[in-house]
């Protein structure tokens, strides 16, 4: 049986500052080596200053993944030399001297499959290496320390995955969960990175390091299983080793470095006292946690009778579920869910469009109410939505500017109907004997009003006129 385990590094991108200093956690908008200070550069005499907000967010992630949460956590030093590491040690967490990591054992359901979480730890990201020069001989390595000290959570799973599809589904759920907790934006470049352990039946465990995105993680796992299977089928031993993911060629390559032999000489980081997270603090955090995706879905179905599939799509996206929760009332919930999932999500289908979009909860509420009261047809609503996303104008303004409002003025509509009756005498006769065919006439009225005639009123008036 194929076994896959993951170690996922998620930057807490929504935090204001780095894990141990007040430099920005969002290092992406800076010039090289601009977002640095004595602390994240590890200058002589500097000391780490723990970001308490990161501890809270880390605990929330642990809770959301159903992990145990110890009432006291500690930090450790992981000692090794590497140019991206300003202090030549990384401040991280560890469970070998008791459960002192921010999250202990937990689990999450992926479809019907239970994926066990081994632990979650809070740690600092190293700097970023930039390689220049093409030939290996003249290659120089530059270091950008802007990223050094960015808060990360490392989520370690048990080897519970059996195929790349489960890995992908898990990553989707995890991304949605992190976004829903408002701790991270998984779409940012480098925000989510991973290592994977892969072994097939009868083979040794192979570790793949340095996978730069969730997208590549699935590919890397897939590649590795195929590679191992093809070795196995030819009776070649699969050696236990560390491999690196080459994201240009999309293959795994054996690492020549003896990384697995490194002795990290872990010991307690004395500069950061133990952090108490007792049950009182935990309860407080729990009460501040946003509603989980599954609970949202449940609520949408049971309270508003929204179809399961629609509820699923709506609840797993934080932006849209927030918009829904802000805009809906008891009466228009279903209508709004429909507008979001059938029209809006199609219209705003990229991150870029989402950032530019001007739609607000008020817009959605107005739209749904207008549809339900017959002020605007569904068809026109779609056009109005397009305009609102673009301009952010009020619905009433959009209706009048684009002339989208339903014709519900009785005398105006009666005039139009009279015209149709005189033009379509044959159809009128037919309708008199067979009331089913009156829809044809309704269609004609719609045509003439470009879909703006109030359908119910049209039908009533037609019936009255035909007699």
């Amino acid at each position: 049986m194929t076994k896959i385990g993951l170690e996922i590094h998620c930057q807490l991108t929504n935090l204001e500052s780095k894990l141990f200093c007040s430099c920005k956690a969002n290092y992406r908008e800076f010039q090289i080596n601009e977002n640095i200070c004595p602390v994240c550069m590890g200058l002589p005499g500097s000391l780490p200053r723990l970001n308490q907000e990161a501890v809270k967010k880390g605990t929330m992630i642990a809770m959301a993944l159903n992990c145990t949460t110890p009432d006291k956590i500690a930090f450790f030093r992981k000692n090794y030399f590497y140019p991206d590491l300003p202090k030549n040690f990384q401040i991280t967490q560890l469970n070998i001297y008791g459960d002192t990591s921010i999250g202990g054992a937990g689990s999450i359901m992926v479809g019907d499959k239970k994926i066990r979480i081994t632990r979650i730890q809070l740690e600092e990201d190293p700097g970023r290496l930039i390689y220049e020069g093409s030939s290996t001989k003249n290659q120089i390595t530059l270091v950008d320390y802007n990223r050094a000290g960015t808060p990360l959570v490392e989520i370690v799973t048990e080897p519970d995955f059996e195929n790349p599809k489960q890995v992908r589904e898990f990553l989707n759920i995890l991304s949605d969960l992190l976004e829903n907790l408002a701790v991270a934006d998984p779409s940012l470049e480098g925000a989510m990175r991973a290592d994977a352990n892969v072994s097939i039946e009868g083979g040794n465990k192979v570790e793949i390091k340095n996978i730069g995105s969730f997208h590549d993680l699935e590919k890397a796992v897939h590649f590795e299983i195929t590679r191992q299977n093809s070795l196995h089928s030819r009776d070649i031993t699969i050696t236990q080793e560390t491999r690196h993911w080459d994201d240009k060629r999309k293959i795994t390559i054996s690492s020549r470095s003896k990384e697995e032999e490194l002795d990290y000489r872990y010991f307690l980081e004395g500069d950061i006292p133990w952090v108490k997270i007792d049950s009182e603090i935990q309860e407080k955090l729990k009460s501040k946690m946003p509603e989980s995706i599954s609970s949202k879905k449940e609520r949408y179905i049971s309270k508003y009778n929204i179809p399961s599939q629609v509820a699923d799509v709506l609840s797993s996206d934080k932006f849209y579920s927030d918009l829904f929760d802000e805009s809906h009332t008891e009466n228009n919930a279903k209508e709004i869910a429909n507008i979001i999932t059938t029209d809006l999500m199609g219209l705003v289908d990229t991150r870029e469009k989402l950032e530019k979009s001007k739609i607000t909860a008020t817009h959605l509420r107005d739209l749904a109410d207008s549809i339900q009261s017959g002020k605007i047809s569904r068809n026109s609503a779609k056009n109005a939505l397009y305009e609102i996303v673009k301009t952010g104008n009020d619905l009433s303004q959009v209706i009048s500017e684009l002339d989208l409002g339903n014709v519900s003025d009785e005398s105006e509509l009666t005039g139009i109907i009279r015209e149709i009756i005189s033009e379509e005498s044959q159809a009128v006769e037919q309708a008199k004997s067979n009331p089913q065919t009156i829809n044809y006439l309704v269609g004609k009225v719609m045509q003439k009003t470009k879909g703006k005639a109030d359908p119910k009123l049209t039908l009533d008036l037609l019936k009255k006129q035909i007699g």
Binding site: P44, R77, D271
Partner: protein, 481 residues
């Protein structure tokens, strides 16, 4: 101009307009100029000190608000960062390192109008107890210039003792403030762990070390402590002392206090002169109304071994950053890859630092940690339990600061084990986080002897009170320089 006054006297005199800060600082610099060739306390001099003193005199004259130090000239051990000045740590590795920020203690002293006359010598990265391991050569004991001044804050003790400044800041990882204070006949204080922010102190063994003042009188130490102690958001290990005033009530004596005499610190190898000074101190304390009784701290006999195991482990990690990539000395990367470059660059560490880093790479490593590092941690917690029990019975503990008298430069440098054992009486306060102070008490054949008092955590005020009482029982000769 009399330079031989205490910090509090200096403050008084400037405040009253009897002396000007400019004159005093200028004369201090002249004295450094004339005698430091012989003593080698200073590694660098603040060329701007006289100008800074002028500014303070101007403020005093015009009635502007002046900080409580009134331009008091102090020296700083060269392992604390002063913005825009060199912080060498007595090492070739940091020969050209200019700190881009102020340590918290420096920031606080600047706010109170202290003037830093210069940075003073130390054993490389504070590892040593003689200053012989400074990459820039040893300091000399002003009492006997062919003798060591103690260490690692040797430059601090020399500069205070020889009137090259009014007070100094050192750092104490295993006795590095108290040991040179004892050897040079000045007051040296290591506070409760966390009482003074370490932000800007270059780490050697961060879990046990503290910054501490070296002064001429115990009251001066209390004065300095008032300025530099307290919570600091830049150091998560600092403790809240609620702005305690360590000078208030310092004269109220020690009547009725119970003092434990630590048996293990008066055993074999204690110099007879040191032993008799200690006995004299005990009887003087009894005369002041204290009761003294012997107590045994069994773990003291393992304390030096535990101390070196823990400090080497932390040093190995703390000094790993000196790979010469972001700062350091002039050495081009051309022609090296990362590992060979840092291996080559790190050869500039001196022998004692190398020795401890090699030990520090070994004792916490897989397969050896259980035998060495974890065992050392066990001793540390056992010793802490023992001393906590002792403080249920006693208010204070007493022992000589160093079991032996100052020795000659070069006498023990080739015998690391003999040097390690000089620490036997001082490391306990560091391993247990307790405050301890060395008070000048006797001079034997021209060589100073200090007596050490220890108190329970956060009992620093009581400790200073007792030290002040002890200090008042003796009148010591003046330094012969």
């Amino acid at each position: 101009m009399n330079l031989k006054i205490s910090a509090l006297e200096f403050v008084q005199e400037v405040q009253n307009g009897n002396i000007s800060a400019e004159d005093f600082v200028a004369k201090t610099l002249e004295r450094i100029q004339s005698i430091d060739d012989k003593l080698h306390a200073f590694l660098s001099i603040n060329e701007d000190a006289v100008n800074q003193a002028q500014e303070i005199d101007r403020k005093v004259k015009s009635g502007d608000k002046v900080g409580v130090c009134f331009g008091m000239p102090i020296s700083i051990k060269d392992n604390m960062c002063i913005k825009n000045s060199k912080t060498t740590c007595g090492s070739k590795m940091l020969e050209n390192f200019v700190a881009p920020y102020d340590a918290t203690v420096i920031r606080k002293l600047k706010q109170q109008d202290a003037i830093f006359v210069g940075k003073v010598n130390l054993d490389e990265f504070a590892m040593g107890l003689t200053t012989e391991f400074s990459a820039f050569g040893p300091s000399k004991n002003p009492w006997e210039t062919d003798h060591v001044p103690g260490g690692s804050s040797g430059g601090s003790a020399v500069s205070v003792s020889a009137f090259e400044c009014v007070a100094s800041l050192g750092s104490d990882t295993g006795g590095s403030v108290r040991n040179p204070a004892s050897f040079c006949s000045v007051v040296g204080f290591k506070p409760t762990y966390g009482l003074i922010s370490r932000y800007g102190l270059v780490s050697y063994a961060n879990s046990i070390e503290q910054i501490g003042p070296l002064t001429r009188t115990v009251k001066d130490t209390a004065f300095m402590l008032n300025i530099i102690s307290g919570l600091d958001s830049n150091d998560n290990t600092t403790v809240d002392n609620k702005d305690e005033n360590y000078l208030s009530g310092i004269d109220s004596g020690i009547e009725g206090k119970k003092i434990g005499i630590i048996k293990e610190m008066l055993g074999d190898g204690v110099d007879p002169a040191v032993l008799s000074a200690t006995k004299d101190a005990i009887s003087k304390l009894e005369n002041l109304g204290a009761t003294c009784e012997e107590i045994s701290l069994d773990m003291v006999k393992y304390s030096v071994a535990a101390y070196y195991t823990i400090t080497a482990t932390e040093a190995g990690s703390n000094l790993a950053r000196y790979d010469n990539l972001r700062y350091g000395y002039d050495f081009s990367v051309e022609g090296y890859e990362f590992n060979s470059y840092i291996t080559k660059a790190r050869q500039n560490f001196g022998p004692e630092v190398k020795r401890r880093m090699i030990i520090g790479g070994f004792v916490p490593s897989t397969g050896h940690a259980g035998k060495y590092f974890l065992k050392a941690l066990k001793i540390k917690s056992k010793l802490t339990r023992e001393i906590n029990d002792a403080f249920k019975k006693f208010d204070l503990l007493i022992a000589p600061t160093v079991p032996i008298l100052p020795f000659k430069i070069g006498e023990k440098i080739d015998d690391p084990i003999a040097l390690f054992l000089v620490d036997i009486n001082t490391v306990t306060a560091n391993l247990t986080g307790k405050p301890a102070i060395s008070v000048p008490f006797a001079v034997s054949n021209g060589l100073p002897i200090g007596i050490q008092l220890l108190a329970d955590s956060m009992q620093d005020k009581l400790l200073l009170r007792a030290a002040h009482a002890l200090e008042n029982t003796v009148k010591l000769p003046e330094v012969p320089i």
